[in-house]
């Protein structure tokens, strides 16, 4: 099902790429139709959102189960370290095995969730690899017979933690970037429609110098947003860190750039709105 969803999203992305390639000629004649396609695509994402919500609830349940096993692990660990009896050791072993299984389940569920929103093929492949690793790791945990082995098998996931975090942050940043890129694409369609309207007014002999100035300002804002998105793409590709804090710091820089890009698009839309109101009430 995930593969089907991925293919569906890839198809829509390919459609949008085609639209970008033949932008000028198509927008002049079929601008509204293309915008309609974009909006239909957006509607399709709403259907996918319902599936995501179901999976998200499933993910939350796995996390709740994990928390219970974590509490049991902490308790039995404390008892074993305090008393050191054979009983406390066996209980600690049972608890840590449950804990490791649930930790793997949470991580696998989380990356499945990410893959629902992910549209990048490279990340899709990496996510699939991680889910496979976690499932295989989970299948080996029941065979663990000693606490030392439990620690060793846990280390296999712990050593992979930084890599998992980096991958997750890259995917999330890419998801947000895709949203803003879709918005930018829709904005370009509206911008071209506005240009056509202004040209029509100009050809009928009206003074449209102010409207043209606003079109230029809107375009400038769009270009600024484009610059920020390019910077974001570069930072995502270079996202790394030796520990969680450094990864979070790098990710926060990406978030700020995305907010900037979104703000520029918002300001560009305001210019288009001004143009629309001016034309609507005949203030030209």
């Amino acid at each position: 099902m995930l593969e089907k969803l991925r293919l569906t999203l890839s198809f829509f992305l390919a459609t949008i790429s085609l639209m970008q390639t033949f932008a000028r000629r198509l927008f002049k004649s079929f601008g509204p139709s293309l915008l309609l396609i974009g909006l239909v695509w957006f509607g399709a994402t709403q259907v996918l959102a319902a599936t995501f919500e179901e999976d998200y609830q499933g993910y939350l349940k796995t996390y709740d189960a994990y928390k219970l096993t974590y509490d049991a692990y902490v308790t039995t660990r404390s008892q074993y370290l305090t008393y050191g009896t054979l009983t406390s050791k066996n209980e600690a072993l049972t608890a840590v095995k449950d804990f490791l299984i649930n930790r793997d389940t949470v991580l696998a569920s989380y990356f499945s969730l990410l893959s629902l929103k992910n549209t990048d093929t490279v990340y899709a492949s990496l996510t699939g690899d991680e889910i496979e690793f976690l499932n295989e790791h989970k299948s080996r945990v029941p065979a663990v017979a000693t606490l030392d082995d439990a620690v060793k098998i846990s280390d296999e996931v712990e050593e992979r933690n930084i890599k998992l975090q980096i991958l997750a942050k890259k995917i999330v940043a890419t998801v947000i970037t895709s949203k803003i890129n879709s918005l930018k694409l829709a904005f370009t369609v509206s911008e071209n429609e506005a240009k056509n309207l202004v040209t029509t007014l100009k050809n009928t002999g009206h003074d449209v110098s102010v409207l043209e100035r606003w079109l230029v300002e809107a375009k400038n804002k769009e270009l600024l947003a484009e610059g920020k998105l390019a910077e974001v793409a570069d930072k995502i590709s270079k996202l790394s860190g030796a520990n969680e804090n450094s990864i979070t710091t790098s990710y926060n820089e990406i978030q700020l750039l995305l907010l900037d890009a979104n703000q520029y698009l918002k300001e560009a839309l305001k210019y288009l709105k001004e143009i629309a109101d001016t034309i609507k009430y005949g203030n030209y």
């Binding site: 509204p32 915008l35 909006l39 957006f42 998200y56 996390y63 994990y66 692990y73 660990r77 074993y80 370290l81 600690a92 840590v96 804990f99 490791l100 930790r103 949470v106 991580l107 989380y110 969730l113 990410l114 929103k117 439990a150 620690v151 846990s154 280390d155 996931v157 712990e158 998992l164 975090q165 997750a168 942050k169 999330v172 998801v175 947000i176 949203k179 803003i180 918005l183 829709a186 904005f187 369609v189 509206s190 429609e193 506005a194 309207l197 029509t200 978030q255 995305l258 907010l259 979104n262 698009l265 918002k266 839309l269 288009l272 709105k273 629309a276 034309i279 609507k280 009430y281 005949g282």
Partner: protein, 133 residues
Amino acid sequence: METTENIPPAEPTNVEVQPENQAAVEQKLSPVKLTRPLKFLLVFVAVLFLLLILVILLKPKALLPTAVVPQASPSSLTTVTPVPRPVSQFGQTPQFTQFEASLNALISTQENLDLTEAQLAFPVLEMNVNYKK
């Protein structure tokens, strides 16, 4: 020497009104003869007047419909409705209305854009399993 004890008491001064002036004095002092019914009428009017004042104070809207009484509830706040502006001929064309509709939809989408993706936050997990004291 005269002291306060020695001062003879003051003689009472009685002003005697002559009978022929009695009527004139009474006329000046009391132009209307207050009979009992008249007294009742005056009291009644006074009470009515007081009641009127009370009614005005308690229910001003009923008696003074033009009075502006400030209220604390926000529903009484005046709302400014924009003056309806005439739409230009070009603003009524299908080309423009389609553009305006898609622009408004785009603005709404942009305003509701979620840039945090809180649901995709990495789960907080214990990543240091050990049995060291």
